[in-house]
Symmetry: C2
Subunit: 462 residues, 2 copies
């Protein structure tokens, strides 16, 4: 058996899978400031209409334009790999497969949607995209996509990361993007914060406000905003991961996976792998699907299901989701991509249905697993990805205890070559474990009580 | 046509190609301190005998043990890619192919030999390897290989890089290696330097001395030294690159490459790609083969051919090569892997024969090419690799001028994700061009005149 299962470019999936078509109970609608469901028109200043159509679509399959595939071929189809060395080290009867999304030029799954979003914006006549970024994975992915497609790109990068992680900023510059520290003096939102707190480290919430402000106030009307996770169309673009994986598992002679695992911050890499298999689970297949989050930011495992803004500055519509409240500031764990107060509404609805069983893990256990991974399989994973690896190890050990030949599949969402400080802290025993105190959940309830109530609806089938 | 030409693992080459079997005129022998050719026994305290046998072998094909292939499968066979976007941007009739060696966990071609060397040492009963590293590519590759094979690993890292590039050191730690700044207080050689110059930034020469000293003074006899380039057996292990590329070019429907390009510091990545095609050139095929070096360290294009030590501290045997003198300290260009005073004797002999036509380039032109690459093909290359890309661009432009459909093949030796400072300097117009003054060549002649003369011998066929 080959260790890497490769698809040819000619075998790449040619349609994305839209889980909205198959959900037994639909997601609650996003609400506007007046508490009423928003209409596509209300989103038009922020996103191009072709992406808004995808956002609200309930078509099961959506064609991937050839021009997008031609760009993805730079690194896709991504290999499915078998973790034979980890299996041996664990002495497990489980067969562990992972989808390696680290091969893209920016090093993660993010370009799958960045390229698609940039392409649809270009089709719509847009000339420039704005966005925010925390640690820089998303900002660099959008910079890459915009350069390849000839669009301008402006990234508002949270000040503290801008100062501490100069390499991601250089990457964005190499791909021609303009990257400024947020809060900046280039927007009203930024200037207001700088006046009040000149020394602020910034936050994703402020950066989102700045990026949206620049998009909606551009007088040419040729600038739009782009988001790297959470929204339906973003998750849709990532389903190419799971669709490839299905073909590859078949090539490997596996009938189906027993367990699917992905780390989840906003939910896009997890959904990209999981949704195509979730369709099978909805149709009766026995698959355990596990989104993994940090105990420091336990949205799915501890937070209330409620209507809340996607950003700290309350500029986005209200989304029905598991949320720690838009004012929540997560502890400074190394997995920056998992430090988000909410969760994609589609993922939340699958949790409500009982289709997904979320799990939370402390970063110390995650780094232990990342080290085992690096020393057996050989590659150095992103701190976010280590959460998926840790659960894969838990499940492989369980399979050993139970003496079962389980098929485990997880998403290797990105490499950690630009995030090595966390490894150093772990090796020097300076890594802290974070458990969120209940008081933070009480604060969240307090922030959320002024919004319309989000009722948990489910079909009761799972 | 697919943009990536993939071999299956079952199609991987199962023998390395040894060019020593086909050279019309053999390489001059290495000499010991007494000026006489060294014998294998004299190398035994430094290298295991199985690798010494490879070093002196003239067998054309040497079997690759299955256990080594099993480790290489983590990332090999490496894809051959067609640079269709660069071709389009250049509007060239040339077809540009490149072998992507950036997929290995440490990010370059170096593990091809690191794994082989660690495996042969282990077979010979060795428990620990020592080595030196400059910027850290080689040190991290050997750390990776030793961890995978269960050997100890000690890396002496040049002090200034140790302080300025902490990420490579963390990588080595993740793979369980002990990495210390050189000069260190752990060897006589290191202590001597520290006494005289406590604030020295260190040098590769000192680091080599420390690594060899630790290996030869280990009383258990179970420690050996490992070198990442220059030597025959190192170049041998890299020929898997060119052997794969030959199969892949055939799959792409190409009869032969017209031009082969690789950057060359010690010569290993260049030789790995070039040697299997050099065999065809020796047999009459018309192929232009171009090793590329920086103008700041112009070994092949300006230095004398002479007997010289491989290291600054004069611990190695004398090798017949193009050399700027073992005391030469190259200017601080960003391509750390090309800052070496000498060149692999096998490469030098091919130059003497007229089989290779070396070229030198300034780092500013190289970074210009790296930026064009990143903005067309999408990936961010190592500063060393940019030298190969720059010549590929030169040759593609020439093909356009001549109106010829040339097939260009170069080695993409590694990614630049951990070397982004050079890109920043370039983008900020702070990158310096270096041209070596003639006075440095006079100094080299002066250093070299006390050694036995190395006569240029050639068959006169090219």
């Amino acid at each position: 058996m080959e260790q890497k299962i490769q698809l040819k470019e000619s075998d790449i999936p040619r349609q994305w899978y839209n889980i909205a078509a198959d959900l037994p109970t639909p997601v609650l609608p996003p609400l506007g400031p007046d508490g009423k469901p928003i209409t596509p028109d209300m989103l038009a200043p922020v996103f191009p209409m072709n992406l808004i159509e995808q956002e609200v679509s309930t078509e099961r399959w959506i064609d991937i334009p050839d021009e997008i595939l031609n760009i993805l071929y730079r690194w896709r189809p991504a290999p499915l790999k078998r973790a034979v060395y980890l299996e041996k080290w664990l002495d497990t009867p489980a067969r562990i497969y992972y989808k390696d999304e680290s091969y893209s030029p920016p090093g993660s799954h993010k370009p799958n949607t960045a390229v698609a979003q940039a392409w649809y914006n270009k089709q719509f006549g847009i000339k420039k995209l704005t966005t925010e970024t925390g640690a820089g994975q998303w900002g660099s992915a959008l910079a890459f996509a915009c350069k390849i497609l000839g669009l301008g790109c402006k990234v508002y990068m949270v000040r503290i990361s801008f100062d501490q992680k100069p390499f991601r900023k250089i990457m964005m510059n190499v791909w021609g993007a303009d990257c400024v520290a947020s809060p900046s003096d280039q927007t009203n939102a930024g200037r207001k914060v700088l006046e009040e707190k000149p020394d602020t480290p910034g936050s994703l919430g402020i950066a989102i406000s700045e990026a949206i402000e620049e998009a909606v106030t551009d007088k040419t009307g040729k600038t739009r905003y782009s988001l790297g996770s959470v929204l339906n169309h973003v998750l849709l673009h990532q389903t190419i991961i799971g669709l490839e994986a299905k073909k590859q598992l078949e090539m490997a002679g596996e009938k189906k996976p027993d367990i699917i695992i992905g780390c989840a911050g906003g939910g896009s890499n997890f959904s990209g792998l999981a949704f195509p298999f979730t369709a099978d689970k909805i149709n009766g297949e026995d698959i355990e699907i596990i989104p993994v989050e940090p105990t420091a930011c336990p949205t799915m495992t501890r937070a209330p299901f409620a209507y809340d803004h996607g950003d700290t500055a309350c500029m986005t519509p209200l989304l029905a989701m598991y949320t720690l409240g838009h004012a929540f500031i997560p502890p400074p764990i190394h997995a920056g991509g998992l430090r988000y107060h909410g969760m994609a509404p589609l993922v939340c609805q699958c949790i409500n249905e009982g289709l997904f069983k979320p799990r939370s893990l402390d970063q110390v256990e995650c780094y232990q697993s990342a080290l085992i991974w690096a020393q057996t399989e050989g590659s150095i994973c992103a701190p976010e990805t280590s959460h998926a690896i840790a659960v894969a190890i838990q499940e492989a050990k369980k399979a050993k205890e139970e003496g079962k030949e389980k098929v485990i599949l997880f998403n290797y969402s990105g490499h950690g070559l630009m995030d090595l400080n966390g490894y150093q802290a772990f090796l020097n025993n300076k890594l802290e474990a974070f458990e969120l105190p209940d008081s933070e959940l009480e604060k969240a309830e307090d922030v959320l009580k002024s919004y319309p109530k989000a009722e948990i609806r489910k079909s009761g089938k799972w």
